[in-house]
Structures are given as C-alpha cells and as structure tokens.
Symmetry: C2
Subunit: 273 residues, 2 copies
C-alpha cells in the first residue's frame, strides 16, 4: 500500500481522493445544485460514503450546503484555483491588456490555455450588447474549431498535433467532418501569419481572430481572441489589435520573442510531413 | 488516526480528504511553487503519504507537475471552481455591469462576497494606469476596513456582526485599533445611505465607494466597489455609478428591491442595540 516514489507517475491507491473529486466533478453547468443522493448516483460513490465526504468538503469550503439541504460548489475552491499560474495567475498579468482590447472592440475577448487535447477558457470579457456566446470561464473548447484552439494547436508539440489530427474530428454542432489536410494547412498558416482567423456559421455567424501568448521560455502558453458577429468588422481591422495585445502580454511574461523577433520565425514542425 | 494541523479546520472521519486539502492549502501567493518535501512540511502530512496524494491530485488536474519536479495548483480546480454560484456564477451575471463601471471610472472595480468573517474577492477589473492595489481574485479581505467589507458586514446577520464587533479589530497595515462605537455608526450609515465610503491613508491614500448586490430572496449576496486614488475624484461623483451598477446586477439576479423599493428601506438590526 505504501508506494513511495519520488515524484513520478500517478500511482493507484487513494480511492478516497478519487471519490472526493468524483463528487466535485458531478457538478456541471446543467446541474449546479445536487442533493447527496444525486451526487452518489452521478459519481458512483455509495450514499453513506457520499455523506461523509460531503461533510468534509463542506468543512473545507469546497462545497456549500444550501438552505434546502442540497449542495453547490463552494468558494473555497476558487481561493485555491486562483493560485494556478496558468489560470488566474496568467489572467492577472493579461487582464489590463484584455481590458484594452475589449475596450477597442466592444465585443468578446477570450483567453485560453491548452490542457491536453482541449482549450480551457481562463478569461472572458464580454460587452453587454455583444452577440451572446456560450463559452464560460473554466469551461473547455475544442482545439480544431475555435480561434484560440487553432492557435494553441498550431504551436503545440508535434505529438499533441499528430494525436489530434489522427482522430475523426468534427465541427460542432453541425457534426460535419473536418478535412485533416485543410486543417494542417490552416495550422501552417497560423504559424506563418502569427494569427488565426476563423469564420463559423453556426449557431451564429461569428468571426474569431486569435493570436499566441509566449512565455519567458518561448513556449506558447496561452491564446487570446476577439470574437465578433461575422460581417460586423473585417478580420483585417482586428488583426493589429490582437497582435498588439498578444505582444504586450508576452512581453509582460518575459517572452524573448516579444522583444523584437517577429512571430513569423516560428519553426514549423508539421508542414514538412 | 489524527491529522494535527495548525490550520484550525476540524479533522475527523475522512483524514485522506483533509490531508489532500491541507496539501492544496499549502500553496499561497508567496509560495505558488512547492516541492513534495515543501508540501509535506507545510501541511504536516508525512512525506510518503504526500507523494501518494500528490500523484492523485496531479491525475485530477488539481496540481500540475513542473519540469523541475515541483508542483503548482492546476487548472482542474478552476474548472470546478467556476461552477460556484457565489464565485464565477455571480461573476458571469455581474461582469457586463462591472465592465460598464470600469469603463466609466477607469480605475479598480471589485466584486466580493462574504465567507464567514471575511470578504472573498470574486472579481477585480483594473485599468493598467490605475494605482496598484493588492487584492487578488480568490483572496480574502477584512470586513471592517474595506469598502466591500463594510457593505457585507452592514447587511450580515446580527450574529455575524456581533461576533466581529466583539473582537479586537485593527486596521492593517497600521495596526491601529478600530473604535467599535464608530464602526457601529458607520454600519448604520451604510444601511441608511445604501453605499459605503471609505478613505484609507495607507499604504496609499485611496477612496472606496461600495454598494450592496441583492439576490432574489432579498439578501445582500455580494458587494461591489470602485477604488480610486483619494483626491482624484470625489465620492459624490462615484456614488450614482456604483448605485446604478448595484441595482442593475440585483435586478439581473431577480432582487425584489431592485424593482423600485429604495435601498433606504433596509431594516437595521444593529442600531437598536
């Protein structure tokens, strides 16, 4: 049982932690309020164990008990989550520049990072009169069919790119299959141009212009985008603002390439295949 | 089996969950990157157990392992935390109005909720050229010496108010004791006026103007404030904008009092004591 290993691969054998996180993951946008019975059912954790674990999670502020006896996710997690360098840490640095960009465009500004094969939205600024979009902070977005996703995928390691490109990718909600050859050349263009432009027809016609944020070790650590109603503004007008914001945030993160090297020097690991 | 922790949370029943959260709570603004040995030391969890728990937390995305073998808080927590109705849920509703307020004032806009005897910052919008302030999203602020804190305290239940007022309160960082009689009348004024105005001389002279956000059950669910350099703008000029934003967010939350009842009808549980 005591598998002592110096900081390596995940080991099996702490089912209580797994059960606690299974309970936390039972909550979703669609079901933000759950009873102990709901939690037990959704997570597969026996009801008596659920009660015990929920009591501990409430004590830590990870869950909150409502007056009706049901539970919601608690603020205690926000307090810890806000220390995640790729989440709120990045956000704190980027926020003033995102604010400038939102000010200039008065639409949506998104900031996302890659987590395995998806993008996670770490910030979203939306003007009240902007066309509604349905991405929420903390939520996941596909890499192959969003502006920020294309940027993150274009600058991901070759293994990640190939893993994704060998799947059967579709565009949601249309369900239309993605042409992998076309996607490869899109990714090459994104690397060459330093920005991604994505037009999507559904559920509403939108245009996303996205660019990369580089960190001090010259890695693409995040992507930001402006999302507008398609037809309202041309991409040509958004590109300079997106580029400038990307460069300013990269500079604040100590990125060598923000100090003069143009984005177009990015090496291109996929074009040659 | 007892987990002795300096943290003060009751420990009983599910020590593994408590230990996992003790590890997560070892991270702080000052120490966002920790080795397994650091984590063990800070949490009091034995090193062999720390390794096992850390592996599970990494597997769930609650921690991330850096190339140097040390750990940071992971994005997995942001994903769950973003479902907290009093955190990001409130934030999503409030964000457009906070954006308007930030636009109008071009300084700092804060949104906070009460968690026990402190305020927790759930959103902060800061203009790049605004005087720096040191509150971060997810971080805690005192109720008795911040604008949002005074509003949350003024509208808290009597038990919370009395518990806090019977403590020896000081203003930080000055360490100057708070006059409880003066604080009581300040709270009464906040309830009467519908806004709190707070001037603070240290570390920099700032003025905060704060107001309450009401929910559908007529409870003060959050407070928002504008924080500016003291002397730059008079409170008189900020009050209408703060009031309007509070009212708009309250209305979006379905608050009965945002539909016409003036804030001044608030009952006053403390004045009579």
């Amino acid at each position: 049982m005591s598998t002592d290993r110096a900081g390596g691969k995940p080991v099996q054998g702490e089912p209580v932690v797994d059960r606690a996180f299974a309970l936390l993951h039972a909550f979703s946008d669609a079901e933000p309020v759950l009873s102990a019975a709901d939690l037990s059912r959704a997570s597969g954790v026996p009801l008596s164990t659920t009660y015990r674990l929920v009591a501990r999670l409430v004590a830590w502020g990870a869950l909150e008990r409502r007056p009706d006896g049901r539970y919601t996710v608690g603020l205690g997690l926000l307090e810890i989550a806000s220390l995640a360098p790729r989440g709120h840490g990045l956000r704190e640095i980027a926020m003033p520049y995102l604010g400038d960009l939102a000010d200039a465009t008065r639409q949506h500004v998104l900031l996302a990072v890659r987590e395995d094969d998806e993008a996670v939205l770490v910030e979203r600024l939306s003007f009240r009169d902007a066309e509604p979009i349905h991405y929420r902070v903390g939520g996941r977005m596909p890499l192959h069919s969003t502006g920020v996703g294309l940027v993150l995928l274009a600058h991901a390691d070759v293994e990640t790119q190939e893993r994704l490109l060998h799947r059967r990718l579709t565009r949601q909600p249309e369900g239309e299959p993605v042409d992998v050859t076309a996607l490869r050349s899109t990714l090459a263009e994104v690397r060459r141009d330093g920005v991604a432009e994505l037009h999507r027809g559904s559920p509403r016609p939108v245009l996303a212009v996205a660019g990369p944020v580089w960190d001090g070790r010259d890695r693409c650590t995040a992507a930001l985008s402006v999302v507008v109603s398609d037809g309202s503004v041309s991409a040509r007008h958004l590109v300079p603002a997106v580029r400038a914001a990307c460069r300013a945030i990269s500079r604040a993160l100590g990125a060598p390439r923000a100090e003069g090297r143009p984005d177009t020097t990015t090496t291109d690991p996929v074009d040659s295949t």
